[in-house]
Symmetry: C2
Subunit: 226 residues, 2 copies
């Protein structure tokens, strides 16, 4: 039997309108859409839902740190997808943001090498955050760095070497990160829960100090030019 | 009279289907769409065209290095857009890729502060390239760096400090950049003219050495894990 095709689809940062025409077209035509879930509802599924005509299969990807546990889930879920592809079904794995940047899809992709596959890019969260803030990420010949889990020791070095930084998951050491940005001569824009109902934006990290910072928060920092 | 609203719209990397639903919706409703042109036809315009109901205005942004010349064009073009907004017209400025990453839109945005404005993110070229290559940009807690004009001296330092790099506009020093990646222990994927008719992809920089490398070429480099 002819094997099915595997698609990885980025559905964008969370706004249902920030999905591409191509993602919609593929969601409409595949036999099975895989929506990964951890504990909570799948945001990717909520965005994709109106476009899905086939079956939806929720596969569990727990949010744990133990790499053995993680790998066993990646293996098991990849096996389940292989079965579907071998049955001749076209399968799409959906992911929030872009599939090639910090997504669970990457671990599945690596396990399905050899199958016919196509990845459909999506809008990364940091592009959506920059757009919301109207703060450019980088211009001209300036490089930029994206740091997925901002730790104060790591970013100190980065702030010394780059003028444009995207710091993700800043909740844990928020006060210290703010301080480093300030000392380094950076202006900063802050977005949490970008494109979702409880989105929050700020241009002044000082005013956030008393707040509980959400886990899904990022900062776009720019060295102030003298 | 009520002022018009200004939109900056990313139309994605070049594939007409990699535009978002939101971009399409806004293109359909605005009075004027600004399509920047240099010498050649506007790729952004080609992508947006089927969705535009209003007027299309081509504004010239020359590809020159003289910053005085550039700034005079940015000023003049921003003034023209201001006139339209003051006439009450809603105006959308289209740009290839994402508007907040290395786009001409950024210079216009800075000149229109104070007007009602909204930026609509688009798929950056490097996300589309990673998807084409099926090479992840970054996973887990690894940072990544985007270098817009890869110069051998600059990237040597970056390759020593990061495991994931996106090197854009690699045509000028292609052989030297390949060599540095190789010496640094990086595997590399290459895409030129991503999502366009004459797109080219390669997983082996050596095989490209005899070729003329297109100006719109990028490399996704990943440190090989031992």
């Amino acid at each position: 039997m002819k094997r099915g095709k595997f698609y990885g689809i980025g559905v964008g940062p969370g706004d249902p309108e920030l999905i591409t025409l191509k993602a919609v077209k593929i969601l409409q035509k595949v036999d099975v859409v895989i929506a990964p879930i951890s504990k909570k509802e799948s945001i990717a599924q909520k965005i994709a839902q109106p476009h899905i005509n086939g079956e939806i299969l929720n596969l569990k990807f727990p949010m744990v740190k133990d790499s053995n546990v993680l790998e066993s889930f990646w293996d098991k879920n990849a096996e389940r997808i292989k079965e579907l592809l071998l049955e001749g079904k076209d399968v799409a794995f959906i992911t929030i943001g872009d599939p090639m940047i910090y997504s669970t899809y990457i671990y599945i992709l690596e396990r399905l090498r050899g199958f016919d596959m196509e990845t459909i890019p999506g809008i990364p969260s940091f592009c959506a955050a920059a757009a919301k803030l109207n703060i450019p990420i980088a211009t001209g010949s300036e490089s930029f760095v994206v740091v997925p889990t901002a730790e104060p020791e790591v970013i100190e070095d980065i702030l010394g070497n780059f003028d444009n930084v995207v710091l993700m998951k800043v909740s844990k050491d928020f006060d210290l990160i703010s301080k480093k940005l300030d000392e380094g001569g950076f202006s900063a824009g802050f977005v949490s829960r970008c494109c979702q109902d409880n989105e929050k934006i700020s241009y002044n990290l000082q005013e956030l100090k008393e707040d509980k910072i959400d886990y899904l928060s990022l900062i776009i920092g720019k060295k102030v030019k003298k």
